[in-house]
């Protein structure tokens, strides 16, 4: 997943960024609201948003984003634990709310859950034809036979699964999987898609000519 982390605390921000990267995600880190402008137009699977930031309220930023039609899943990270705060956070457009201190493992699980919900799948396992994918354990099976995927292959598959039935352009897929590294390797996505088709069958990832890729296209 490609995640935008918005957190001003250096210790927590760097810890979460590194934890998420070790976990195989692409993470961009903004230390204040003003830095988010640099990511305008960039696709993200989720925002990890702190409430209190040096240059404003994360909650107000989120409300404004929602008003502009941004539906990217948001997990609020905050030190505010009162019920009224949690309700305010959720009512302002957050998909979930986690109170500091928290275990980063729990945070990742919550991010996965809100992304799955946004993609229309409550469960962790998704079946597409002969392929079954477990989004939590990051395992894939072809005709019930487990198939090993590399981290990047998994990232491509996950990005497409989280946009099930939707056409994802190559540029968007590159950004989601590689982040800003995509500028350095222009054919990396084709390589990973090709590899996925070899391991999980040609039918899984459909190429929509001139538009991009899709998993779970119209039957």
């Amino acid at each position: 997943m490609r995640l935008l982390l918005i957190e001003d605390d250096e210790l927590l921000g760097s810890g979460l960024r590194d934890f998420l990267r070790v976990d195989g995600h692409v993470v961009e880190w903004a230390r204040q609201l003003g830095e988010i402008d640099a990511y305008r137009g960039e696709p993200f699977d989720a925002y990890l948003l702190d409430w209190q930031l040096p240059d404003g309220s994360g909650l107000e930023w989120l409300s404004a984003r929602r008003e502009r039609g941004d539906v990217t899943p948001v997990l609020m990270l905050t030190a505010r634990d009162l019920l009224e705060d949690r309700l305010r956070g959720l009512d302002s457009g957050a998909d979930d709310y986690i109170v500091k201190p928290f275990a980063p493992e729990e945070m990742v699980a919550r991010v996965r859950a809100i992304c799955r919900r946004r993609a229309g799948s409550a469960g962790a396992r998704v079946r597409v034809g002969a392929v079954e994918v477990d989004l939590i354990s990051r395992c894939a099976w072809l005709n019930s036979e487990r198939t090993e995927l590399t981290s990047r292959e998994w990232s491509v598959l996950e990005a497409l699964m989280l946009r099930f039935g939707r056409i994802v352009s190559k540029a968007e897929l590159e950004r989601l999987v590689l982040g800003f590294e995509s500028e350095l390797a222009s054919n990396a996505i084709e390589v990973h898609v090709s590899s996925l088709r070899r391991k999980l069958g040609r039918e899984l990832v459909e190429t929509v000519r001139g538009m991009g890729y899709r998993v779970g296209g119209p039957a």
């Binding site: 210790l11 810890g15 009162l82 201190p101």
Partner: protein, 424 residues
């Protein structure tokens, strides 16, 4: 003088009023009796004198004309009340003539004009025109006392109902005048100074106006203080929670990147950091000023499943749902579990032995009866400092915040803490 806590202003006022009414009535009655005695005696004396003056003429005339003793002119109106004697003091005193009911012997042996008392009689004497003769008109003392008593009784018959009426009226008046105090208590029970613009309202009596003003001022000070403390707690929460989360995130990354030799050491550090987190979170939850207990239904088995503590098996057997503040209960239970772990327990069992009661039992070595009683006494007295650990103190504060308390029931083995979470 120190008042009993249950002393009632109304009761005390009524008792005082009744006591003073009785004293006042007794004093008034005494004064009335003395006045009646005086005035009645004076009136009767006047009558006695008038009777004597009216009698003397006919008596002297009858004696001059040597006729039979006269029928006294006032006899018909005064018969039964007055008697008379015409007494000659020429030589030994002797009765010349007298009324039929008069004493046989002279009322006075020597001439005695004016008012005088002889045993059983009040006498008025007046000299006649004839030398040595006196007319005495007398009335029995018994009759005079009877007249005075009749008047006093009549006064009492009128005064007693008036006094009773006055007592009842005063009682009702006291009750009515104390009503604003009762209304004030009800207003205070509904008064929430944390609500914007909350005031106690207009005082119903002039004397209560300063009380209302003082309560409103106190509420204002408390509200400002709570707002300050809430702001401080919020800042403190942010200042503590964020670095703790950062430490945990850094340790989680380090654990993933560490080699096999370093990993156990890092894991111990992370476990200690998690314990620190639990304590800080519990303290922040407990001392967030002004925050009320937010009750919701808690499934104990689900709560137990959400509380992983390294090295502890957690069981929840046949529990019923609790209605309590989930954050506070979690904080209390986590610290009890920490205690259990530090004292060598392997299993912690949650049960609900009563309505809205949560028991946390561990299979550790427990404490002996004397120590258990000592801990319970410290908890009951809320004298935690140096007598109980943080876990029991927090559990007790959480239970008290719910309107209940913490007890440490005797166990055959292990240690148990029971949180009574008050009524639902």
């Amino acid at each position: 003088m120190r008042l009993q806590p249950s002393a009632s202003i109304g009761g005390r006022l009524i008792r005082s009023l009744v006591l003073w009414s009785v004293i006042w009535c007794a004093a008034l009655g005494g004064a009335l009796w003395m006045i009646v005695q005086e005035e009645v005696a004076e009136l009767l004396d006047d009558s006695l004198q008038s009777a004597a003056e009216g009698l003397i003429g006919p008596l002297v005339q009858s004696r001059t004309e040597h006729v039979d003793p006269p029928v006294p002119p006032l006899a018909s109106s005064t018969s039964g009340r007055f008697v008379w004697q015409l007494v000659s003091h020429q030589g030994p005193a002797h009765v010349v003539s007298s009324a039929r009911s008069a004493p046989v012997s002279p009322l006075h042996d020597i001439p005695k004009p004016g008012f005088s008392n002889v045993p059983g009689w009040r006498v008025y004497g007046q000299a006649t025109a004839q030398d040595g003769q006196m007319v005495y008109v007398a009335q029995t003392t018994e009759e005079r006392v009877e007249a005075a008593t009749e008047i006093a009784l009549a006064a009492l018959l009128v005064g007693a109902p008036m006094t009773l009426f006055a007592v009842l009226w005063l009682r009702s008046r006291v009750h009515r005048e104390l009503q604003p105090l009762r209304d004030l208590s009800q207003r205070l029970a509904r008064y929430d100074p944390m609500q914007p613009g909350a005031t106690l309202g207009t005082a119903e009596r002039e004397e209560l106006r300063p009380v209302h003003a003082a309560i409103d001022a106190l509420a204002g000070r408390l509200t400002r203080r709570l707002a300050d403390e809430r702001a401080f707690t919020s800042h403190a929460a942010h200042a503590l929670r964020t670095p703790l989360a950062g430490i945990d995130a850094q340790l989680a990354v380090a654990l993933r990147e560490a080699n096999a030799a370093t990993r156990p050491r890092l894991q111990r550090v992370r476990t200690a950091a998690e314990r620190l987190q639990r304590v800080v979170v519990a303290l922040l939850a407990m001392f967030r000023s002004g925050a009320e207990v937010q009750r919701s239904e808690i499934n104990v088995a689900a709560l137990a499943a959400r509380l992983p503590v390294e090295g502890l098996v957690i069981e929840a057997e046949g529990t019923t749902p609790l209605v309590a503040d989930a954050d506070l209960i979690t904080a209390a239970v986590l610290n009890l579990m920490d205690n259990a772990q530090r004292h060598g327990a392997r299993t912690v069992t949650f049960s609900t032995p009563g309505a809205n009661v949560l028991q946390v039992h561990d299979d550790g070595p427990g404490v002996d009866s004397a120590r258990r009683r000592e801990l319970q006494a410290a908890i009951d007295a809320q004298d935690y400092d140096g007598r109980t650990g943080l876990g029991l103190m927090l559990a007790d504060l959480v239970a008290r915040a719910h309107g209940g308390g913490l007890s440490l029931p005797e166990q055959a083995s292990g240690f148990a803490a029971e949180l009574n979470l008050g009524s639902r």
